[in-house]
Symmetry: C2
Subunit: 331 residues, 2 copies
């Protein structure tokens, strides 16, 4: 179902500290070149003191400025991240506080489907905007992946970086073409444990950290199993989504994929038959920034003028769950 919403402005934030592939080779005791070859990431960024809310607020200010509106014109802030700043309250409220909007009443809540959180939030919130429940929504994805890496699992820890991205979404003015043409999300929990952090919630409280459960509080990924399940599903998923939106692959000006890994991006491109010109690949100098990867790549595509108003785009990703999600939109 079409929804006449428009991406009014985008922003991003990267921590100043750059962590090169060479630095990780050394830290992990690996042969020179292993990290870059395996991950496809030359440099990722780690926080040195920034909180998730501070990073999110920074990206949000840029997005709101790009949208040409005032912060006070927002009526909803959604934090769409795979990680939270603290257990309670939701991160969106902490971003509101960081933005100096404490007394405004702007609604705040979090939406979480791990790496697909931004896609889910845009999908769901576009419906609230189409019905007039909200008018101008700020969606923020802000991730400190570096806090939860497992340094004993070299295949996963080299992939991730920290950062934030934000998008202001509003209703499309008359006579403009911006809209969502179709969306889909599918979750296959046979893959629920292919990528996980088992600890930190109500099943394994932080007080258990010292009782031999250290590894359960770090990210654990079985890349091979994820690859196998995703490979079975992705072609049918994308074909069905594009058909529902009545958009052909060649009509897509840009494909904004989740930046899972360098290899995942290459395989996705080949398997789905997209061209290098269509694929927006920011893996090399950002890494996998969990839910922030898609809005960050979107921000880059817009900033670099790889898309113009009215162009068709596909946001596409996979996430822990295991889920596939995508949105076809006219920018």
């Amino acid at each position: 179902m079409e929804r006449r919403i428009k991406l009014l402005g985008t922003g991003k934030y990267l921590p100043a500290r750059q962590v090169t592939a060479a630095e990780l080779d050394e830290r992990l005791g690996l042969a020179a070149g292993w990290t870059e070859k395996k991950s496809g990431v030359r440099v990722r960024h780690y926080v040195t003191g920034e909180t998730a809310a501070q990073m999110g607020a920074s990206a949000a200010r840029q997005a709101v400025a790009a949208a040409g509106i005032a912060l006070s014109e927002l009526d909803c802030i959604v934090c769409a991240s795979g990680t939270a700043q603290q257990e309670i309250p939701c991160t969106a409220a902490l971003i509101q506080e960081e933005l100096g909007l404490a007394g405004t009443g702007i609604a705040c809540f979090d939406i979480n489907s791990t790496c697909l959180s931004f896609v889910t939030a845009l999908d769901v919130m576009s419906c609230t905007m189409a019905l007039g429940v909200y008018e101008r929504v700020l969606i923020v994805s802000t991730e400190i992946a570096s806090a939860g890496l497992n340094w004993k699992q070299k295949e996963s820890c080299v992939l991730f970086g920290d950062g934030a991205a934000a998008v202001v979404v509003g209703r499309t003015p008359d006579h403009e073409a911006s809209r969502i043409l179709g969306s889909a999300m599918k979750t296959y929990s046979e893959g629920a444990h292919y990528s996980e952090i088992r600890g930190g919630g109500t099943m394994l409280h932080p007080r258990e950290y010292v009782n031999g459960y250290e590894d359960d509080f770090a990210f654990d990924m079985d890349g091979r199993k994820i690859f196998r399940l995703t490979s079975q599903l992705i072609t049918g998923f994308v074909d069905s989504l594009l058909a529902s939106a009545a958009v052909g692959k060649k009509q897509l000006r840009a494909v904004i994929p989740h930046q899972a890994s360098g290899m995942a991006l290459r395989i996705m491109q080949g398997k789905l038959g997209f061209s290098a010109e269509q694929m927006v690949n920011i893996m090399e100098d950002h890494g996998n920034v969990i839910a922030a990867s898609i809005p960050m790549a979107l921000h880059e595509a817009i900033s670099q003028e790889r898309v113009a108003r009215g162009d068709y785009m596909l946001l596409l990703g996979t996430s822990a769950g295991l889920s596939l999600g995508g949105i076809v939109l006219a920018y």
Copy 2:
């Protein structure tokens, strides 16, 4: 904006283990009667081994049976809880797995506004249903509050209990009256730190638990500040919500409040001018079950036939954030 959705079925789950006020008086070294008088809770329930997903799945099976549909007819599962089972993936995927729906592709994600998570999820998901993005949505709130209590803070730890509630929501058939008439949410982050668990996210990783931060991983509440801010805001909030829905207070057959505390319920009733017959109060034998409180009270109101089809209801609560939220609906 009206949305023609219908609550098709509800369910709840309570752990078998009952924790009486007298037991807590003894555990906390308090005078006999202190806990019940202060909290308004005679008995709450704590898990003895159940996970959040298991409790949620149990409530979900009951809700789906009450709705008269098969589990496979769901096309979306939203976990709307203030706590998560584990950091990654989202709890909804773990509930899908627990329900034996691993291969179905039913979309799964979490929505979190702490104690208002159910209200936010119903508000947002009703919009997706009105637009045909989803047809039949299962919303599950499942909470293990007992994992994160601060036993040094007697005012807060006596309030909470564990449990789950679930609601199946679908589109309203022609010629039926069920619908959402209005909704509102307001967040005032000046109260973001009035109730919180500071640890467990990316700001204070569980590895810091042993470094003198134990209390930061438990629930911390300043009831007096919450009461003061909420008191300033609640009357205007409810008046505005009811006006937007064009429903008068006396037209409400039932008010389903968040079960924050016995005192909060009494004050809310008096301040807002609702009658005891309107207020659905399940505090005494459930305690505050975080986001599960509202759908659990809703389940009780329906099970006890305190509401009939077409009756007007108000779901109303406050949450960490600090947020106020409500939905006016025709059941």
